[in-house]
């Protein structure tokens, strides 16, 4: 009996991610969900600019590489081209989604665009070597905040789920973690719901995953997992921020 | 081979663009070459509006008019601005209800038509523009019932079919004024 197998939707090549980075886990979860829902043949994924820029190599479904921050706009185009057939997801980091692409994020949510967004929040720019992100914590040391993020000079972090929850548009917003087996199971459930919502034509579904970046945080993978619990969750509380259908059914 | 260049001008809201459109469609109905070019931008919102219409037996070069054959002016700023553009021997038709001064040029034909007063007296206060068009066609010898009817059907959508008769009436008022 096979107890652990590679999802069909995940390409059989080694990924470029650093040791201890949780991108790999989230890639696997997305692929599992695509398999479970049997939608690989109609799914089109949109890769961002950031560490997951080469995500287009890692999935076996059709993939598009977008300009920095524009994945939700590209997804809108792909979805509208054939709304009944296409299942469209974007996979974006915090710089892509919450800094340069904020307008695309907010407006695709406001339109309740029937797409799925997987949002990796690791509080730092990874690919360019560890600069301050819109989600870097107050006081967090990065290459471009070497004395710690000074909120008086560069403002406060953006809480994406909370912000989008103020809009009437989006269907489903949840923040999860992947730093324990239990947490990974829960993240799988959230991601599955975010895809199922799209199949059911319920609309804009975003799952924010608090992730690690041991390399640029300057920590061991184990310490990084702990840092998520100790530092990130207090600023970015986990949970469901919006679930319109569940609320309506009550 | 004949080319006539018309310039319609006045306030935004006086139906300047529509008058020009009517004339352009009339040209199209008669199988002529036509062009219609509006002024556009903020001046349309309550300020001056104008449009250039060229009707020609030949293909039309520039849609922009340097020298005007027929100028329609429905307010004073328009007359001030465009009086000098009319060709010697050309025609100026102005709304004498709204423009108190006389045309200074002595080398053009001038028709003073109290279009706004006629429009309100005849219960069609929004159609001073078409009263002027009626007169314009009369003086250029192009007033033809069949063509006018066919043209009106093209410029007035089926949704506003009730406007056909009143437009025609306004044109008749203009055509017959002063006869």
């Amino acid at each position: 009996m096979v107890v652990f197998d590679k999802p069909k939707s995940l390409a059989d090549i080694s990924m470029h991610y650093c040791p201890g980075c949780t991108h790999g886990i989230v890639h696997r979860l997305v692929a599992e969900v695509i398999d479970e829902l049997g939608i690989e043949g109609r799914t089109i994924g949109i890769a961002p600019v950031g560490c997951s820029v080469m995500a287009y190599n890692y999935f076996n479904c059709d993939m598009i590489e977008a300009a920095h921050g524009r994945a939700p706009a590209v997804a809108t185009g792909v979805k509208r081209a054939n709304p009944d057939e296409h299942i469209v997801f974007t996979y974006q980091g915090d710089g892509d989604l919450a800094s340069i692409g904020m307008a695309e994020t907010v407006h695709s949510a406001a339109r309740n665009e029937n797409i799925t967004i997987i949002f990796i929040n690791n509080a730092i720019y990874g690919m360019t070597g560890g600069q301050m992100a819109p989600t870097s914590l107050p006081g967090q040391v990065t290459q471009t905040s070497p004395y710690g993020r000074d909120v008086n000079a560069c403002g406060y972090p953006v809480r994406v789920c909370e912000m989008l929850a103020t809009l009437d548009g989006p269907e489903y917003l949840e923040r999860v973690i992947v730093n324990s087996v239990k947490a990974v199971r829960n993240a799988n459930k959230a991601i599955k719901k975010a895809f199922q919502n799209q199949i059911d034509k319920k609309g804009f579904s975003l799952v924010e995953v608090l992730s690690t970046c041991p390399t640029n945080w300057g920590m061991t993978p184990k310490d990084a997992l702990k840092w998520v619990d100790e530092k990130m969750i207090p600023y970015y509380p986990l949970g469901v921020y919006k679930d319109r259908s569940a609320k309506e059914n009550k | 081979m004949k080319t006539t260049k018309y310039l319609f001008s006045g306030f935004g809201g006086q139906g300047i663009l529509f008058s020009g459109k009517f004339l352009a469609y009339k040209g199209l109905t008669e199988d002529k070459n036509v062009s219609w070019l509006p002024s556009y931008g903020p001046e349309m919102r309550g300020g001056t509006a104008s449009c250039s219409v060229i009707i020609s037996d030949e293909s039309i070069g520039s849609p922009i008019i340097d020298k005007t054959d027929v100028l329609v002016a429905m307010n004073l700023p328009s007359l001030d601005k465009f009086e000098g553009t009319v060709k010697a021997g050309g025609t100026i038709i102005l709304d004498s209800t709204l423009i108190e001064r006389k045309v200074e040029r002595t080398d053009v034909n001038v028709i003073y038509l109290p279009a706004t007063r006629l429009a309100s007296e005849n219960n069609c206060p929004t159609l001073a523009n078409m009263i002027i068009v009626g007169k314009l066609l009369k003086v250029t010898g192009e007033y033809d019932d069949a063509t006018i009817d066919a043209t009106l059907k093209k410029v007035i959508s089926a949704k506003h079919a009730d406007m056909l008769d009143v437009n025609k009436k306004a044109m008749e008022i203009g055509a017959n004024y002063g006869d």
């Binding site: 949109i46 590489e65 185009g77 509208r80 081209a81 695309e104 | 520039s62 849609p63 340097d66």
Partner: protein, 352 residues
């Protein structure tokens, strides 16, 4: 003339796009092209197509990127400042070899500039506009009829060569009405086996991408793309010649400038001046051949533009500087008068 209707240039573009099988349009309001968006907003819902007013020109061009990647004909439109915003996306379309049609109804610049007609985006349209080595097919309509027919042509060429095509119009062309005939024989879109429209579990997955981190490979992609551009240059240059046969003075202009110039040529001919006009219809590829030919025959070339002199550089290159080429221009939203152009022609006819 029975099938002709009077239409604004902007509306003619919109209807022609629909006739060309474009069922998806994304835009953002900006004068003087907004009639295109308004027309699409009315028509698309009735034919089961997409009209979407995007949150920005940037979003709109990226929606175009998505639809094109999925294999469908798609269009966006804007005017000069908005095209600058789209430039990033246009570079990505070129880099991912995606066809699309982009309309630029030019207005005066730089910066916010004005809203009156201009031709000052010629460099932006023909020399790249975005970053990287690439070209767009750039079609420059000279009438409302061409606003329509070149839009159709734009879709066909974009699909044929897998590259974006731009209609380089101006405020006058967008706003003016002329009779237009909208019956076109449209070449159907070719098969697009590269499209990311779902594998249906019947093929290997497709990737639409412009990223290539290995320089040797990226260089190869660029060389290959430019082989295609060469074919476009060889096969697709379009122009109109007007009274050039016996001309010893040549005037050249595109779009609205060519219309005024035609009047000036007619006036000059009445005065016995042997002057002709070359009107480029494609400005990329630039129609070099007729200029090469005329360079042997004429003593002077006048380039008429609504800019500070942009196309004139291509004209000089085309004639290898064998003949003097001078500029006759207005800028910032102004249009040269027939008299201005005529005076310029007369000046060189007298041999000044």
């Amino acid at each position: 003339m029975a099938n002709k209707v009077l239409m604004k240039g902007n509306e003619a573009i919109a209807e022609a796009a629909i006739k060309a099988g474009c069922m998806h349009y994304f835009g953002y309001p900006i004068t003087p092209q907004t009639e295109i968006a308004a027309y699409m907003a009315k028509r698309m819902p009735k034919i089961g197509g997409t009209f979407l007013q995007a949150e920005s020109e940037i979003a709109a061009i990226n929606m175009v990127y998505g639809v094109s990647a999925a294999g469908y004909r798609v269009m966006t439109s804007s005017s000069s400042p908005g095209i600058s915003l789209k430039s990033e996306g246009i570079s990505y379309l070129a880099g991912a070899d995606l066809p699309a049609v982009i309309i630029n109804v030019q207005r005066g610049g730089p910066g916010l500039g004005g809203i009156q007609p201009s031709q000052s985006d010629y460099f932006q349209a023909t020399k790249g506009g975005g970053h990287g080595d690439f070209h767009l097919i750039v079609l420059a309509p000279g009438s409302v009829q061409e606003m329509a027919s070149l839009t159709v042509k734009g879709f066909e060429l974009a699909d044929k060569y897998r590259m974006p095509a731009m209609i380089l119009a101006d405020g006058t062309m967008g706003q003016m009405m002329e009779p237009v005939e909208l019956d076109f024989d449209v070449a159907p879109a070719p098969e697009k086996p590269w499209a990311t429209n779902g594998t249906k579990m019947q093929r290997k997955h497709n990737i639409v991408n412009s990223l290539s981190l290995i320089p040797e490979e990226l260089e190869k992609f660029n060389f290959k793309r430019f082989e295609r551009y060469k074919l476009v240059e060889e096969n697709e240059a379009m122009y109109e010649e007007y009274k050039t046969e016996d001309a010893d003075i040549l005037v050249t202009a595109y779009g609205i400038a060519s219309r005024v110039t035609k009047n000036a040529v007619d006036e000059a001919r009445k005065k016995g001046i042997k002057v002709g006009l070359i009107r480029p219809i494609t400005v990329w590829p630039f129609p070099k051949k007729p200029f090469e030919k005329m360079a042997e025959k004429v003593k002077h070339i006048v380039c008429v533009e609504l800019s500070m002199g942009q196309m004139i550089e291509d004209v000089k290159l085309a004639v290898s500087c064998k003949v003097p080429v001078t500029l006759c221009n207005r800028a910032g939203g102004m249009i040269p008068s027939t008299e201005q152009i005529l005076a310029e022609i007369e000046k060189y006819a007298k041999g000044e």
